[in-house]
Amino acid sequence: MATTRALETLDPITFTVLRNGFRAMCSQGSALVERVAWGPVITQGRDYSVGLLTGEGRLVGHGTVDITPHMGTFEFSVKAIVEDFGDEMEPGDVFIVNDPYRGGTHNQDVRLVRPIFLDGEIFAYAAACGHWSDMGGPIPGTFNPAATEAWAEGIVIPPTRLYHRDKPVKSTFEFIRMNVRVPHERMGDAAAQYQATKLLERRLNEYVQRYGKETVQQAFEAVMDYSERLFRQEVAELPDGVYVFNDFCDHDIGREDHPRVKFTCRLTIDGDRAVVDWTESDDAPIGPAGLTLPALSSATFDGTLHCFPHLVPLNHGIIRSLEIKTRPGSATHVLHPTPVAGYCASGYEKCDTAMMGAWGQVFAAAGRPEMVFGGTVNLQNCCIGGKQPATGQRYVSYTWSEGGQGARSYGDGPSFAMFLYGAGAQNQPIEVHERWYPFLYEKFEVAVDSSGDGRYRGGYGSHRRWRMRGDAVNSIHGDREEVTPPGVAGGTNGGPNRLILNRDTPEERSLGMFATNVALKDGDVIDFVSNGGGGYGNALEREPELVLEEVIDGFMTVEKARAMYGVVVEVVDPDVHDYRVDADATEKLREELAGRELPVGYGPGERHPDGLRTGELLAAHEHDH
C-alpha cells in the first residue's frame, strides 16, 4: 500500500511535471537515436525504442513514437542482465543483449542497457533498443523464412558488457564486427543507442538534483499507480464476459504441408480484471512463425493500448494489471531453438490483431462501436543484398511498405498507413532509396481495388515496383497473402500482400511472402503490393456518392463498384470527371444483391467469422437498449 500513498502524497504539480518529464526524456532519447543512428531501419523506419525503468527493473515509460514490439520487452531485457551480472554491475557499464528468448524479440533488435547509479546503488535503468539491419547468418538482413532452427538466423548475443566505465569493450565490438554485414553501420547504431542511455542518465540526475531522490522515486510509483487505477476503472465499466478472436499466419513453412498457424486470444473481463489467455493457440511452428514470451507481452499491450490510447506510454502499472497466460512451447511462447527472426510480420502481428479484435468485441458488447476497428496492413520484410554495380560495395536494403488501415464505425480507414505497431514508422522516400541502392523505381501508387469493403472501407494498399540494377539476392519474410486484415461487423477482409517478380512478362513468378535467397539479375522487376485494410459493416449500405467519388479518383474500378457495392456508375466524360451514379439501376441492383451472403473466411473478400461475432455483439447491444 506504500505505492498507493505515493500518488496521494506527491503534490499534483510535481507529479505532472515528473510524469511528463519521464516521458519527455524517453522521447528525447528516441529522437537522438533516430537522428544519430546509421541504419535506415532505425532512422526512417523508426524501429527503435528508449525506456526508463526503476532500480527493480519495472518500466516507468518509453518514447511516444517508439515501435511497439519493444515495449513489453524492456523488463525482460533488464531481468536477463541482472540475472547474469547482478552485483558485478558498476557505474559506467552498458550491457548489450539481443537474445530473443530471454530478453527480446528477434536477433536484429539489439538492446543496450545502462544501470543508473545513485549513492552507490542502482537507482534506475535506461534501455535503448534498435533494429540493426543485419545480424549475420546466411541471409542478408537476417530474416530467414526457411530457418527451422535459431542457428540458421543470425548471431545471438547473451547479456554482455559493451561499455565499461563508459569506454567501449573492444572484444565485444570486435565480436560483433566479425559476425555482421556492413559492420561500420552497426557501430553507428550502437553509438546512437549508447548516447541515448547516457542522455537518460543525465536527465534523470537533473530531476534528482531538483526534486530529490525520494520524490523522483515516489513519482516512479505514482506514475504506475495512476495508470493502473485508470485502466482498472475503465475495465470495470466494461461488460464482464469471455471474448475470443482468432488470427492465423498463412504458413508454417517449416512443415512440409505449410499449414496455417492459429493464434487465439481469449480475453476474460471480470470486474476490474482483464485476463488474456493465449494457451489455445497452436503448438510452436517449426519455421519462424511464432513469437517469444517477451514479444508476446508487447503484442498484448500493443493490441490493448490501441483501444486505450490515452493510457500511453506503457508502464508497469498497466503491465501488472493485465494477466497474461501462455503455454511454453506454443506458437505464442516459442522456446529456443525455434526460429524467430520474422516474428513481427508473423506471430507478433497476429497476436496484436487478435488482441485488438478481442477488445473490439468487448467494446461492441458495451455498445461502443467507435472502439471497433477493422484489421490493418501487415509488415513485409523485403531484403535485398548485393553489390553496387558502380563501386562494387556491398549493400543490404530492407524495404517495408505502408498500406490500408482498418475501417472504423464512422469512417473509412486511411490509405498509406503504417502497420499497426509501427505508427511512428515512416515509409522510405523513393529518392533516398534510389540514392542508396541500385534500384530504379517505376511505380508508387495506390493498389486499386485492394480495400476490404463495407459501409466503411478499409484503406487501400500500396503498389511499388522497381527495376534492379546489378545482380542480387532477395528474401522476404512477410505474411497475409492468404489470411488478410480482418473485416468486422460484416465488412470484408482486406486485399493481399504480394511480391511478384517480372510481373506481366513471360518470366512472371510470384515469390510469395516467404521467399529465401531468390537470385535477381540485372533488369529484373520487383512488384510489391501491400494489404488493404479490413472493412466495417455491410457494403450495400455504403452511400452511392462515396462509391462514385472513389471511382472518379481511380481508387476503385467501375466493375468493383458494381459487384461489391451494387453501385452502377456511368462514365460520361473522364476528361472533365463526368461520372454519374445511375440511381435506378443502382436501386435495382442493390435489391437483387440484398440477400447475398458473402463467403465467411479469412481471405480477401471474405468475412472474418470472429469479426462477424463482433457485429452480433453490437446488434445485441442495440437490441437491448
Binding site: I13, T16, N20, G21, R23, A24, M25, Q28, R35, V36, W38, P40, T43, Q44, T64, V65, T68, H184, E185, M187, G188, A191, Y194, Q195, K198, H306, P309, E402, Q405, R408, G411, P414, S415, F416, A417, M418, A423, G424, A425, Q426, N427, P429, I430, E431, V432, E434, R435, L440, Y441, F444, E445, V446, S462, I552, D553, G554, F555, D575, V576, H577
Partner: protein, 688 residues
C-alpha cells in the same frame, strides 16, 4: 520624411495595424474587422484610422493569414499536380505515419489536390540526375489539355529527382505557361530544390494552391496603397521571422504562411525581454486560433520546416509556433454523445460570433464572455463594433444551455472551461511535454482574446505570471515592426566530401549570391547594405538528417571543404558523442544554403511615463459572473490607458482598452510595469 514604420497584420477575424513614430516613440494603432474575401478594405480602413500621411511612411511591413486560412479551410485555387508517370500518389501517401501512435480514430483532411487532378507525364530522372526517360511531349500535351478542359487555376510540377536536374520540370512549366498563360504554375526545383519527394511535393503544391490568391491579393494591395498615396516600399513578412519583397512573395506564397505567428513570437521575445521575462510562452489568441511559441532566454525557437496540417509539411526555415483552433470566434457545440465541445470550427469574421449581429447563430467564446459580463458590449474594439448581448445570450441558451439543462451562466462558464482546457493541453505539449517546467515561464497573453482567457490557462498550467503587453491586440504586428529582410536560398549538392570539387561548390554559391544580390538590388538595397551568409548542410552519408555549418566567403578552396568536414566531425562528436573515421564512411554535403539579409527600418519601444494609482484609472464597476466567486459579483473596471507604472489592484477586475480586454479573476493580483505591461500574479487564484 521617413518618420513612421508601419506593420499590418491580417488575421482571420481582425486586422491589426501598428505605426511607430521613430522620432517620438509614439505608437498609434488600429484594429479593424478583417474583410474577406479581398481583405484589402480592412487594411485601408486601418491606415485611414491611424491617420498618418502616406508620404511619411518609410516602410510598410505586411503579414497575413490569408494563405494559411485558404489551406486550412480548403478555399485555395483549383489546383492540379503534374508529376512523373507511375508516381501519382506521393502526395496522398505522405510519410505514412499517423498523427498519434496508438489512436486510430483520426479522420484526415483531404489533400490539397484530389487524386483525379494529379496528372502524370512520362519522364524520369534518376538519382544521379540523368534523364533515363526523356520528357515525352505527347503525355505532356495531353496533361496540358486536361488542365485546360478542367479549368485548373494553379499547377504544381514535381518530378522525381528534379533537384538533381530541373530540365524536365522547367520544360513542363514552359509548356504550361505557353498554353495556359493565365494559370499560376510553379515547379519544385524553384520552390524547394531538396531531396525527399513527399516533402518537396507538399511544399510545391501548397505554394501553387495559394499562389493565385496571394498573387491577386498583392496586386490589389499594391494598387490600393498607391491610390492611398504610398510610394515607399512594402515588404511581406514570412515564417522565418524576416520580410521579403512583393516579388519574392509572389514566387513563394507558401512562405507567407505563419507570418503572423512568427511576428508574434518575435514580438513576444522582444516585449518579454524588455519586461525582464526572457522565458515566456507566447499565447496569441485571436478570432480563429491560438498560437503558442516558446521563447527561452529571449530567443524564439526555430525549426527547418513546419506542418500546416499533419500531411502538409512546408519545408522553409521557420520560427517554431504551434497553432490550435481556439479563438474568440471558436464555436461551442454539443457532440453526438451529448458532450460540450469547443472548436475547431470558427465563426470567423463573417458571420462572426452571434453577438456581432451579422447572422451568426452559433455560440462562440466571445458570446460566452459577453454573457458573463467579462466583455463590455459598448467598448469592444474601442466601440467600433457594438456587441449585442441578447443575440449572444440567445445563442448560448438555445444551442448549449437548454439542450444540456443548464442555466445560461453555467452554460457560458462551461464553454470557456472546455475551450481553456483545449489551450492548456496544447500549451502542455510545448512546455511540460518537452520537459520544461512551466513555473520557470511567464505566459505572455496577446491577440484580442488572449488576455481574456490567459489567467485561467496559466493557473491550470501552474504558470505563476501572466504578462499582458501594453497593446495586446497588436503584439504580433509590433513584432513585425522589428523584422528585417531575409531571403533564404538553397541548392542540393548531395556529394560525398571526397567527390566535391571546390570549383563546383564555388559555382553554386556564386550563382546563389548573384541571384540574391540581384533580387535585393531590385528591392533598392544598396550593395554595402547586403549581408550574405553561406552555410552548408552536412551529414554522414547514411544518415537522414543533417547539421548546418557556416561556410567561409570568397573563393572556395579544398581547405575550406576540409575545414567544414572537420567541423562536422567535431560537432558530431560533441553533440552526439561519437564520430566515425572517414576510412569507414564519408561526409555528405547535402545542401548549399545562402541567407541574404538586408536592412529594413525597425521600431523600438520606449518606457511609458505616467502617474497615478489604479484608482484614478477605474472607470466604474459592473456585475461580472465568476463561478468560483459564487456567481455575479461587483467587479472593478479599469481603463487601460489610465494605468501607469506602479499601479496595483486585485481581481476580480476587468481592464478595458481598444484592442483587447484583460480579465483578472478573483484571487489574481496585478501590477503595472514601466512599459505599461500588466504583470498578473495568478498564484492566488482558486483552482476550478
Amino acid at each position: 520624411m521617413s518618420r513612421y514604420v508601419v506593420a499590418v497584420d491580417i488575421g482571420g477575424t481582425f486586422s491589426d495595424l501598428v505605426c511607430l513614430d521613430r522620432e517620438t516613440g509614439e505608437i498609434r494603432n488600429a484594429k479593424v474587422p478583417s474583410t474577406p474575401p479581398t481583405f484589402i478594405d480592412g487594411v485601408i480602413d486601418a491606415l485611414d484610422k491611424v491617420d498618418v500621411p502616406p508620404a511619411d511612411v518609410v516602410v510598410l511591413k505586411h503579414g497575413s493569414t490569408i494563405a494559411t486560412n485558404a489551406i486550412i479551410q480548403r478555399t485555395g485555387a483549383k489546383t492540379a499536380l503534374v508529376t512523373t508517370e507511375g508516381f501519382r500518389d506521393v502526395l496522398l501517401a505522405g510519410r505514412a505515419d499517423r498523427t498519434d501512435h496508438f489512436d486510430l480514430s483520426s479522420i484526415e483532411a483531404p489533400p490539397l489536390v484530389p487524386r483525379r487532378d494529379i496528372l502524370t507525364v512520362r519522364e524520369r530522372v534518376d538519382a544521379g540526375g540523368n534523364a533515363v526517360v526523356e520528357l515525352d511531349e505527347a503525355t505532356l500535351e495531353r496533361a496540358t489539355e486536361l488542365l485546360r478542359k478542367r479549368g485548373i487555376e494553379a499547377v504544381a510540377v514535381v518530378f522525381l529527382n528534379s533537384f538533381m536536374n530541373p530540365e524536365h520540370e522547367h520544360r513542363t512549366l514552359e509548356a504550361i505557361a505557353k498554353r495556359l498563360p493565365e494559370v499560376y504554375a510553379c515547379c519544385s526545383y524553384d520552390i524547394l530544390p531538396e531531396l525527399k519527394e513527399f516533402e518537396r511535393t507538399s511544399t510545391t503544391v501548397a505554394n501553387a494552391y495559394i499562389g493565385p490568391i496571394v498573387d491577386g491579393y498583392l496586386r490589389n494591395l499594391t494598387d490600393r496603397l498607391e491610390q492611398w498615396g504610398f510610394r515607399n516600399q512594402t515588404f511581406i513578412i514570412h515564417s522565418g521571422g524576416g520580410v521579403m519583397s512583393l516579388d519574392a512573395a509572389r514566387r513563394l506564397p507558401a512562405r507567407t504562411c505563419m507570418s503572423g505567428p512568427a511576428g508574434g513570437a518575435v514580438g513576444a521575445a522582444y516585449i518579454g525581454s524588455l519586461a525582464g521575462y526572457p522565458n515566456v510562452i507566447g499565447f496569441d489568441m485571436g478570432g480563429t486560433s491560438c498560437d503558442l511559441a516558446v521563447i527561452s532566454g529571449g530567443e524564439p525557437e526555430h525549426h527547418a520546416g513546419w506542418r500546416i496540417e499533419h500531411k502538409i509539411p512546408v519545408q522553409f526555415p521557420a520560427i517554431d509556433v504551434s497553432t490550435i483552433g481556439a479563438g474568440g470566434g471558436t464555436i461551442a457545440w454539443i457532440d453526438k454523445a451529448g458532450a460540450l465541445r469547443s472548436g475547431p470550427q470558427s465563426a470567423g469574421a463573417r458571420p462572426g460570433p452571434a453577438a456581432y449581429g451579422s447572422g451568426g447563430t452559433e455560440p462562440t467564446n466571445t458570446d460566452a464572455n459577453l454573457v458573463l459580463g467579462r466583455l463590455n458590449p459598448a467598448t469592444f474594439l474601442g466601440g467600433d463594433l457594438p456587441l449585442d448581448v441578447d443575440l449572444a445570450a440567445a445563442a448560448v441558451r438555445t444551442r448549449i444551455a437548454e439542450p444540456l439543462g443548464l442555466s445560461l451562466e453555467e452554460a457560458a462558464e462551461g464553454i470557456l472551461r472546455v475551450s481553456n482546457a483545449n489551450m492548456v493541453d496544447a500549451a502542455r505539449l510545448v512546455s511540460v511535454e518537452r520537459g520544461r517546467d512551466p513555473r520557470d515561464y511567464a505566459l505572455m497573453a496577446f491577440g484580442g482574446a488572449g488576455p481574456v482567457h490567459a489567467a485561467y490557462c496559466a493557473r491550470e498550467l501552474d504558470i505563476p505570471t501572466v504578462l499582458v503587453p501594453r497593446h495586446p491586440g497588436l503584439a504580433s504586428a509590433f513584432g513585425q515592426l522589428r523584422v528585417e529582410i531575409r531571403d533564404d536560398y538553397q541548392r542540393a549538392l548531395l556529394r560525398r566530401h571526397s567527390d566535391l570539387e571546390p570549383a563546383e561548390l564555388e559555382r553554386v554559391f556564386t550563382e546563389l549570391e548573384e541571384h540574391a544580390r540581384e533580387s535585393l538590388h531590385r528591392e533598392g538595397v544598396a550593395e554595402g547594405e547586403i549581408t550574405l551568409q553561406r552555410t552548408v548542410d552536412l551529414k554522414y552519408y547514411p544518415q537522414t538528417t543533417y547539421l548546418n555549418f557556416a561556410f567561409p566567403d570568397g573563393s572556395v578552396t579544398q581547405a575550406g571543404i576540409d575545414a567544414a568536414v572537420a567541423a562536422f566531425l567535431e560537432r558530431h562528436e560533441q553533440e552526439f558523442g561519437y564520430s566515425v573515421p572517414l576510412e569507414f564512411t564519408s561526409v555528405e554535403f547535402v545542401n548549399a544554403r545562402l541567407t541574404a539579409l538586408g536592412p529594413a527600418p525597425v521600431g523600438e519601444l520606449k518606457p511609458e511615463r505616467g502617474e497615478g494609482g489604479a484608482q484614478a484609472a477605474q472607470s466604474g464597476t459592473r456585475e461580472v459572473h465568476f463561478a468560483e466567486a459564487g456567481g455575479w459579483i461587483e467587479t472593478a473596471v479599469y481603463d487601460r490607458d489610465g494605468l501607469a507604472e506602479g499601479a496595483r489592484f486585485s481581481g476580480p477586475a476587468v481592464v478595458e482598452q481598444a484592442d483587447s480586454t484583460t480579465v483578472v479573476p478573483p484571487g489574481a493580483e496585478v501590477e503595472v510595469d514601466g512599459y505599461g505591461n500588466l504583470i498578473v500574479d495568478v498564484r492566488g487564484m482558486p483552482r476550478i
